[in-house]
Symmetry: C2
Subunit: 262 residues, 2 copies
Amino acid sequence: MDAVKRNNVKVIGKGEKPMLFAHGYGCDQNMWRFITPAFEEDYKIVLFDHIGFGSSDISEYNKERYASLHGYAEDVLKICHELELQDVVFVGHSVSAMIGVLAATKEPERFSKLILVSPSPSFINEGDYIGGFNREDIEGLLSSLDSDYLGWSNTIAPVIMGNPDKPELGQELAQSFCSSNEEVARDFAHVTFLSDHKKDLAKVKVPTLILQCSEDAIAPLTVGEYTSKSIAGSQLVVLEATGHCPNLSAPEETIAAIKSFL
Amino acid sequence: MDAVKRNNVKVIGKGEKPMLFAHGYGCDQNMWRFITPAFEEDYKIVLFDHIGFGSSDISEYNKERYASLHGYAEDVLKICHELELQDVVFVGHSVSAMIGVLAATKEPERFSKLILVSPSPSFINEGDYIGGFNREDIEGLLSSLDSDYLGWSNTIAPVIMGNPDKPELGQELAQSFCSSNEEVARDFAHVTFLSDHKKDLAKVKVPTLILQCSEDAIAPLTVGEYTSKSIAGSQLVVLEATGHCPNLSAPEETIAAIKSFL
């Protein structure tokens, strides 16, 4: 099946240069709606949904393929091949930031720039690395997810969003988590929270921008700093925005940072 | 009616020196359950519920009395008078930190120490002061609360709690918000989020400890720093703990910081 159909790929914008947006856990391409209008004039904007999310073809879901982020990175490359995208500006949020890292490591010549929004190469503290959680914390989070997915989603999504002054955003994210296929969402949560791609960061040879929020309940500042230190020549911008989803909670600041980098 | 009854006052512990614990918005004395055991050997521990919360006598609620935090501070003093407490170590969480500031300003000789856990003298940015929110943000938060209290509680409480690895804590707080009397909770939320007690901080003459979490969705680090700068001779401890309720999410670190101060 072609990638355009299986990943519900949409192409908009008036430009030639491709800008590919990859959404984070439990979401779909709709989460970029406040960001893309600012780039429609100058870029060919490519949006898609990860398999199992949004309007992707869930029959294409395959536990083995998606048992690691490499399967998702393969999908990104498949979209690039099929649309014959070159010099891609890749914008990935949260777990999709790491998916972009893996794709750009596999085919560096395909990408001109990486923009990593709230990335985390690993959520788990290890040695000097402060990911924000102990292994038992993450195991507790996943066991709570396994025992009550809807309850977990309604509790966690607003925490991930932060920004208590805009409760509608946390509710939107909870709604998005809850409407995901439960089996796929569970698997993806396990891959998201247990993957460790710290060692892959050094392999990135593409100019990279890292956008880190100043207060993020799941990716502390130390994570943005580590990511930036590990990708040679990358640029770290610490946003005034708080929470984990500046693309939704602080689109203007996010757009300005991306434009300034491009 | 006596304060012991109206505020559901409980006295525990084997010591003589009184340690009075005041709970934050939408909670009750139960939120201190991980902290008090560490002080039971050496202190007389006094716990209570604010009027309208926990097992307080809700018939004592009075819109005029509780239209500002001064009404709540009067209750704290009434408890001290009735139990004849002297040299009180006052421990207040969140909005109750400011209630303690007001009580200690009114009767400084009554208190030996103030311990302010996640305090905020004002949530609203003003001039150089960074409270974390614009006025419109707070107005939006309160209008969302007014239109759907249960929905608001379920969304906001986990954000306030943070600590996504322990979703049961966010759920407990949401449950506590939801089980509060709605009218009282709305009024108290308005008072909590709109009060400005920045100018009262300088009036505090009691040795004060400020416990600030390193990532708090409603009280950023700037707020702890401002509070500390404004209370002469106070001590600021920035906890490794994240979220707004270290008494629930990081009791050991909270106890250690309090013990070291005492």
